[in-house]
C-alpha cells in the first residue's frame, strides 16, 4: 500500500505536498491527521506543524484485475484482461488469449470459480460494492443461447408429459437465464430447489389437476 507522512504549516498545505509526491488526486486518498498545527507565540515560538498520513486508496477493480491476471498466468496461460464498465457497479472482465478452454472449463466451471474468487477480492474492503462478470471467447453469450434452447426444449417435454423436470445444478446467474426464458411460456412454471452449490431449476407443468 502506498502511503506518505508529511508535515506542513497547515493540513491543507501538507495534503497538497503529499498529493504532489504521490501524484494522485484528492479523491484517490485517505487522510489521517496525526498532529493538528498550532500557532505559537509571535507566530513561531512553540508553533507546531501539521502532520498527516496520506494513504492511496486501493481501487477494487484494479486489485481484482491484478489478482486474476496473476492466477491465470500461474495456471500457465498467457492472457490479457480488458475491463468494461457496464453499469454503476457492474464490470465485465474480458479475458483474451490463446487456448482459453482451460480458463473456461467444463460448462464454465473454471470461469465461474475464477469469477467467484475475483469478486471476493474486489469486495474485500468494506466500502467496495462491485459485481464483476468474467468472460472469455464469448462464452457467456454462447452459454445463454444454449440455456435458452435447453429451457424451451425441456418446457416442450414437460407440456407433453405433464411431469416436472429438474435441470442440472447451475450458479444463480445461469438459473436466472432459464427462469427468464420461460416466464411467459403458457402452462409452464419454474422454480429452484436445493442448496448452493447444488441448487437447480425445476421446470414444471402449471395446471396440474
Amino acid at each position: 500500500m502506498k502511503e506518505v507522512t508529511v508535515s506542513g504549516k497547515s493540513v491543507d498545505e501538507a495534503l497538497e505536498e503529499a498529493l504532489k509526491t504521490l501524484q494522485v488526486s484528492q479523491d484517490e486518498v485517505d487522510v489521517e491527521v496525526l498532529e493538528e498545527p498550532k500557532k505559537g507565540l509571535l507566530g513561531f515560538i512553540g508553533s507546531k506543524q501539521a502532520v498527516i498520513k496520506v494513504t492511496v486508496k486501493v481501487d477494487p477493480i484494479h486489485k481484482a484485475q491484478d489478482y486474476l491476471q496473476a492466477i491465470i498466468k500461474k495456471i500457465g496461460i498467457d492472457s490479457e484482461i480488458a475491463i468494461n464498465k457496464i453499469g454503476d457497479r457492474d464490470y465485465q472482465f474480458l479475458i483474451t488469449g490463446e487456448d482459453l478452454g482451460l480458463v473456461i472449463g467444463k460448462r464454465g466451471l473454471t470461469l465461474n470459480a475464477l469469477q467467484y474468487l475475483t469478486n471476493l477480492v474486489a469486495n474485500q474492503s468494506s466500502d467496495a460494492n462491485v459485481r464483476i462478470e468474467l468472460d472469455a471467447e464469448n462464452y457467456r453469450v454462447r452459454r445463454k443461447t444454449a440455456l435458452e434452447k435447453l429451457a424451451q426444449r425441456t418446457a416442450d417435454r414437460v407440456r407433453k408429459t405433464k411431469k416436472a423436470v429438474k435441470l442440472e445444478p447451475m450458479p444463480s446467474h445461469e438459473r436466472k437465464i432459464v427462469h427468464m426464458a420461460l416466464q411467459d411460456v403458457a402452462e409452464i412454471t419454474t422454480y429452484s430447489t436445493g442448496e448452493e452449490p447444488n441448487r437447480a431449476v425445476v421446470i414444471d407443468f402449471k395446471n396440474k389437476e
Binding site: 489478482y67 496473476a70 492466477i71 500461474k74 495456471i75 500457465g76 496461460i77 482451460l102 480458463v103 472449463g105 466451471l109 473454471t110 465461474n112 470459480a113 475464477l114 467467484y116 474468487l117 471476493l120 477480492v121 474485500q124 442448496e195 448452493e196 452449490p197
Partner: protein
Amino acid sequence: MDELIKGIVAPFVDHPDDVRVVREQNNDEVTYILTVNKADMGKVIGKKGRMASAIRTVVHAAGLAHHEKATLTIRE
C-alpha cells in the same frame, strides 16, 4: 502450482507466512496439501465451502494445463 495455490489464498488470510503447500504423488494422481493457520481455516473454506470448491476447481484446471490429475486437500 505451489505459487498458484498460495497466490489464490494470499489475499484472504491473516497469516500469509503460515501458508504451505506440499505435493504428494500417488501413481498418476497428484494431491496438493494446503496448510493454513488455524485462524484462517474458515476463510479458506468459505461460506458453505464455496471458496474451497472454487480453489479446487482452479487447481484442477491448472493440473490439466500441466498434464497431471491434480486434487487439493486443505488442512490446518
